[in-house]
Symmetry: C2
Subunit: 194 residues, 2 copies
DNA sequence: TCGCTGATTGACAGTCACTATCAAGTGATA
DNA sequence: TATCACTTGATAGTGACTGTCAATCAGCGA
């Protein structure tokens, strides 16, 4: 029960410091123009250490583990809620909680992810993993195997619609505009068509 | 109207030769394990020349411009066909036409695209462009602006479901198994839910 | 047929992401 | 405190990709 040891706390701190400087530099001078060496220097670590914390340069920006939060939301949803409502609820509450907590950085990371091609690619790829994660608890609710094809396709369809919502948001939104309405409308095509 | 000059024909030939050797080497010894230098050597060109023909190593495999065929299919669909049927028809006929024409290489490229992470990323990214392209004629049918949000979300949802179909196919399918049933089932979640 | 022009190429040098290795430093535990 | 396990920095690589420059070659007019 004791708080994580000093070793662990230092690791967390180092990880956070790297990310902080990296995002700052990316926003200031662009993603491509920023080298890992610069990030390492700013964070006062060696380039080797950078790659011990993040497998690739892209990972500094990606690293969203909101999946687990969403999986939790899906598990906690009322048992008679229709699948689409379950997912919409999970997305909205998770994003709502996040954007209140991590204010500026989360937004900047989101913008970077959808505006820098290399990062957009990476984000899309990690969504494939997310789909598998999210489909499992949904399948569970329906009494199907965790890797049920229809559930994965369904979650895939939802995420596919959501990506458009996010991109539209990034392209047009004012600083503090809420994404929620876009998400709701994007998901509605699943039941009502275009 | 004369056939393209010798210069142009040589370029086409060089391009094709590079691609041929590249795909062969990728399949033989893996994507990561194959260096551009090896490809250049096999194709009897210099590494510099390789990058003049393909912006990146990934581009040798990607280069899919089936979008235009699908757009054509959407435009040609009966005017009273529901949107989902329009898209399903477009996907099925386009893919059917392709797989008959380009036999072995197309399949190998498809497998490479969905099994090598770097290439999967790339393919996913190009799908975002595809979504915009495909949404336009669909919006046109419905009398909406070309960049209609709901149409893009709808096509995004379809593509999201389809990606899962393709990945399931790549992971499990025997050599000549047909993708069509998977596509049909994946798209059915749009109307029937999971 | 000859020579000019612009496109295409190869060779070379350099940058940067990323990996492997090894020795030194630091936290945890007895 | 002494020992062990983990973490780190330094170093030396590999491979993708870029820029430059001189040599070559197709195409075209004289």
């Amino acid at each position: 029960m004791s708080s994580p040891g000093l070793r662990e706390r230092k690791k967390q701190k180092t990880r956070w410091t790297i990310q902080e400087h990296a995002v700052r530099l990316f926003v200031q001078q662009g993603y491509e123009a920023t080298t890992v060496e610069q990030i390492a220097e700013a964070a006062e670590i060696s380039p080797s250490t950078f790659f011990r914390y993040f497998k690739t340069k892209e990972d500094v920006v990606i690293q969203d583990r909101y999946d687990d939060l969403m999986v939790e939301e899906i598990r906690n949803a009322p048992p008679d809620l229709p699948p689409l409502d379950v997912l919409r609820r999970a997305f909205l509450t998770t994003l709502g909680g996040v954007s209140e907590e991590e204010t500026e950085q989360a937004l900047q990371r989101a913008r970077l992810q959808f505006s820098v091609p290399a990062l957009r690619m990476r984000a899309l790829d990690s969504m494939q993993e997310s789909i598998r994660h999210l489909a499992a608890p949904l399948a569970e609710r329906l009494g199907r195997p965790a890797d049920d094809f229809r559930c994965q396709a369904f979650v895939g369809a939802c995420v596919g619609a959501l990506i458009n919502a996010f991109m539209a948001w990034v392209e047009t939104a004012e600083a503090n505009e809420d994404v929620s309405p876009l998400i709701t409308e994007a998901l509605s095509v699943l039941t009502e068509g275009p």
